[in-house]
Amino acid sequence: MLHAKIIDTKKEKIKISTAESFISSTKFGASIFFSGTVRDINENKKVTGITYDSHDELVLKSFKEIYYEADNKLNIKDKVVFIEHAKGYLDLGEISIVIAVACKHRDQAYILSRYIIEEIKKRSPIWKKEHYENENSEWLKGNPIQPN
């Protein structure tokens, strides 16, 4: 079971409690919650916030592909996965992404959680524009996507 959503920060915030409700089940003995937040320093620059941009349809497509790949690549078929990513402006400390997974055993949960965030970093079209204390801002360089 998968929940995948882009959260427009002008309308709502990402909440870990929503993830907790979604993955909660007596079928699974291991749950992992990963959250990414906006931090204050990047490459020696004082960051005041980040604007996230997203190609929503492609991002959601990539989340689904990553979820289904876990069946074969990781051999983790019984699982619940919750992924939400922010789009728009976030202040320091605010949550940009939550990945919550529930599996039967802890080994699977750790592996799945790590796999999902690493694949999102490689494949999901999301961009960050950092805002700095001196009122400048800059799109971060990122990694090129390769066609299949």
Partner: protein
């Protein structure tokens, strides 16, 4: 033939709008379209090397959300999305 290039991430700096429109006379590959975009940027932003690099390192995507390679041919009025290097999470 009109090609609307939808802008995301760093490529949003190419325009005040969310897109750029190109009028192209004949069918064109993504490889050649990439060069058209670079030519447009040269004209409008002089020698902005950072913009050129963004285009050179970007992927492109069709309206049906498929990432396409440099050999893909645009043969009709179409929306194409530029996907600059990514970095979410």
């Amino acid at each position: 033939m009109k090609i609307r290039l939808e802008l995301f991430g760093a490529s949003r700096e190419f325009s005040n709008k969310d897109y750029l429109d190109f009028n192209i006379n004949k069918k064109i590959s993504i490889k050649d379209f990439r060069q058209e975009i670079i030519n447009y940027l040269k004209l409008n932003f002089k020698e902005n090397k950072a913009f050129k690099k963004i285009v050179e390192t970007s992927a492109f995507c069709t309206e049906d959300n498929n990432i396409i390679n440099d050999n893909y041919k645009i043969i009709k009025n179409q929306k194409i999305t530029i996907i600059p290097p990514i970095g979410g999470g």
